[in-house]
Symmetry: C2
Subunit: 596 residues, 2 copies
Amino acid sequence: MRTSIATVCLSGGLVEKLHAIAEAGFDGVEIMDSDLVPAAESPEEIRALCARLGLTIDLFQPFRDFEGVDEVTLADNLRRARAKFEIMDRLGAKMILLCSNVATATIADHEVAAEQLGQLADLASEYGISIAYEALAWGRYVSDYRDAWKIVQLADRPNLGVCLDSFHVLSRGHDPREIEAIDAEKLFFLQLADAPHMQMDILSWSRHHRLFPGEGDFDLISFVSHMIRAGYRGPLSLEVFNDTFRQTDVRRTAKHALRSLRWLYDRACAANSWESKIDAPQPPRAIDFVELTGEDLGEIEQALHQLGFVFGGRHRSKPVRLWQAGEANVILNEQPRTQGTRLGSLGLLVDDAEAAKRRAVAIGAPAAFRRTYEGEYDLPGVLATEGIEVFWNARTAEESWRDEFEGGSTPGTESMRGVIDHINIAYPWQEFDEAVLFHTSTLALGAEPASELPGPRGLVRSQVMRTDDGVVRIAMNLAPPTAPLLPRHIAVRVDDAISVARRAKERGLPFLPIPDNYYDDLEARFGLDAELLAELQELDLFYDRDEQGSFLHFYTPVVDQVFLEVVQRIDGYDGYGAANAPVRLTAQRTFESETA
Amino acid sequence: MRTSIATVCLSGGLVEKLHAIAEAGFDGVEIMDSDLVPAAESPEEIRALCARLGLTIDLFQPFRDFEGVDEVTLADNLRRARAKFEIMDRLGAKMILLCSNVATATIADHEVAAEQLGQLADLASEYGISIAYEALAWGRYVSDYRDAWKIVQLADRPNLGVCLDSFHVLSRGHDPREIEAIDAEKLFFLQLADAPHMQMDILSWSRHHRLFPGEGDFDLISFVSHMIRAGYRGPLSLEVFNDTFRQTDVRRTAKHALRSLRWLYDRACAANSWESKIDAPQPPRAIDFVELTGEDLGEIEQALHQLGFVFGGRHRSKPVRLWQAGEANVILNEQPRTQGTRLGSLGLLVDDAEAAKRRAVAIGAPAAFRRTYEGEYDLPGVLATEGIEVFWNARTAEESWRDEFEGGSTPGTESMRGVIDHINIAYPWQEFDEAVLFHTSTLALGAEPASELPGPRGLVRSQVMRTDDGVVRIAMNLAPPTAPLLPRHIAVRVDDAISVARRAKERGLPFLPIPDNYYDDLEARFGLDAELLAELQELDLFYDRDEQGSFLHFYTPVVDQVFLEVVQRIDGYDGYGAANAPVRLTAQRTFESETA
């Protein structure tokens, strides 16, 4: 399947965009007139540049508001069209996108629209140009792709067909199954955009909030399947208007865009049992380990000990230490001259680790490299988002990287038994959507509905990516562009958070101090019994409740932008204590400013 | 009239907010529970702090979803209420805001709601607390203030009344005139928020896009007038949920908020012929001058000369020079050790300059100070937004600051004759809304509808503030938070832009180079005759057309973040060539990178 992208998806000038599109690996490009007009380069130069870069010019969008007009307007529209066909001739573009009239149409009659489009098609044929007619969701008289198809049939010209755009079809809730009723040779073009479900006017939704496939709520897999089953053989092309992508680095966005198409086509193949060149997803069965990297991890190590983690040994060839609490493995990797402490890598258990890596690389993730020595376990992995690496492991009892750690302690009755419940990663604003796609396409996680939490420096967007069974959960946080990145954290789930908290306090772990007002509010909201409430307050524990059950959790203070959380899920509680986040964010801010 | 503000309008922690609110000059505060719960300070401490700062606690918002529920839920709701009344007792808050039930109501019956609210009122009376019941725009069964008033009448308790919120009334399009039918003693509270007209779900609109009065599209002057005519004597209180204000400096936002209330009350007084302590607005009759400030303004001076401005003389006591073109006065103020070139001040002609300044200061603008010497003209002025000062002048023929400039040239036939058409100011994201209010409240300008223009670094929001007659126009631009500030410019209107451009080219002025593609597009769009098109292209001129007439304009390159534009309005064209902005922004970016 060929891939293409509209220049309007990217930031910068036209030449920069074309270079970025070619470098990412696209086959072709849709050029928007609004990118060509401001360019200093002539149409001939752009044509030659595309040829050198190996990009076909799949579509050109030069004007709007053609059909359904009075005779005087039609004459001027044909004059406008001819002028643009001359430009296309110089550009070497052979297909024009014509959107349904949103402004000047006065005649609500398919016959008239067809007759006028017929005239346009005849004019276009003089230049060897085809016309792809698209029903815009807010077209004045034509806003449904089925009407566009009727008009194309009425006009009956060989160089007139339809363009389908997933946004215009799915935003209106039109049934995409009828795409399969369109003649294959009349399916001229396919534009793809995802979007979150939103309640707002369609024009603003379309202009500002489109997303690349896999990042929103539209069922694009079905949409593409209908097109291909109907016989469409043109490119899969992206047309995504988005306020963020207009500002972000053009080369990065182009790569990200292509990944979304590779993922989408692979999923469509899987849904239809068509052959795909990409290995099947490997849903993670568990979190194998979390690695923290920093110059000096002594404070983290002390906190792990105070919580009840047990020292699992030193790596035999690397400056790396293992701490364990039941199934929860935390690896501390001390590297000289690193800034702050960060999440270095994440290990996932899957059925076929090599296949997981092959899939990730095929979709477009860079392979990760770690030096391993003779006899050491070599985990396949890729560079994920935010500088974190992901490694896959198909661990069996006989074969594990754990054997490379030596000199560990034996867990005692005092030791904590736990499992990594979730990790929490903060993203800068321009990488959030890309990270959603990474987690779905490469890690085979699904997205929970996003939420917004008020923090003292603005709203924080929160989005959890997880397996269906909840065994692997990654919480993504996005602070406002003007606020500093939020700290990251690792949450360990235990069976008895109260005992863990009590022991940690005894061992001197500093807890994030929770205000008394919080416990007054807990009492008012939930009517907790006095004994439990007193215990929560004594231990600085947070409490939450959902329809299933309840939740206990607490936090260590932030060390170098990283902290730890201990959670206990009671009776199937499935959330993350979101209602407590404002209290936690305020407490962290107070604690930081008091200790800084 | 007393003034108040909800803590949720501001960023930071509760104590910071209270200090900022007091410092700005508010009389009271609405405390949100979501601000109290995360605070380390006890209710008693907050009460004492408010007392010391001279702030009354006018309202408290501790819980939601009370009425219209089954008996079991009602019992728990009364338990929740009692716990919060205990907190209010400690806080010293005497009025609670109760929003209509959005979540748990199952009984759509005013009688039931009234009976349950009656029980709540009786419980509240034990604590000396009053209840202000508010119809939320998205309340499940009660979403209209007239229904809330009916329920309050049915319940018939002395400590139960209504709270009116302008957003909830006006967003639903409910007629605010019926406020005057409510008994004065039952109008317990008034919350004010403005908002732009938007088509989206009301909840998102309310949570993210509210604005302070004077910054949006709601008619708050009428709204407040209805309340006061109905006999309301409580505070005017702001409740503005806005993503920007949640992030901006708390002290700055609090001052800005109070200015909006002062402006609003003054306008309500004017609309009702009530006495106001604030002088009447002084609509500007013309732009008197524009001053540029920088360390070395030689390049700007050369460009002014090349355009045809005439040297108007040196100031007799300051390092300041005047350049003139007919009515357009540009003052160049060279100050050592200033960074870059910037718009230093703007002079406006009004009927009463001292009254204009008194009004601005009364609303909250800081007075501007310029040292003047014996016998020099002392213009009253204030510090406007973005570091620009505004000075007013009631110039008569006998009396003008121009006499202080000596040694100027006499205009010749070569001189340009012009007038300042508009100035264009770029704002950082956090100051844009505040600037809208400054221009309406202090400069008596009105807002044209805002627009968005695609630039190579993201969408640029553009908003023109102007007098009705168009004699004074200030175009405000807002680039995305991640992009650098756009340059500012001064646009001079002339009768013959082609002659001015031709002379300037002859004198060696570098023009912003416009790509040929632009002229191909002009031809296609407008079918201009070949001679005019060739002349535009030769001279690097932009062209636009609206329903009235046409527009010619061109730009000098950017010097130190400032540039000049020359415009010609033909047959009543009223725009600013917005369609050309993407070409201009791209050309400026190209020119900058080539010459940098």
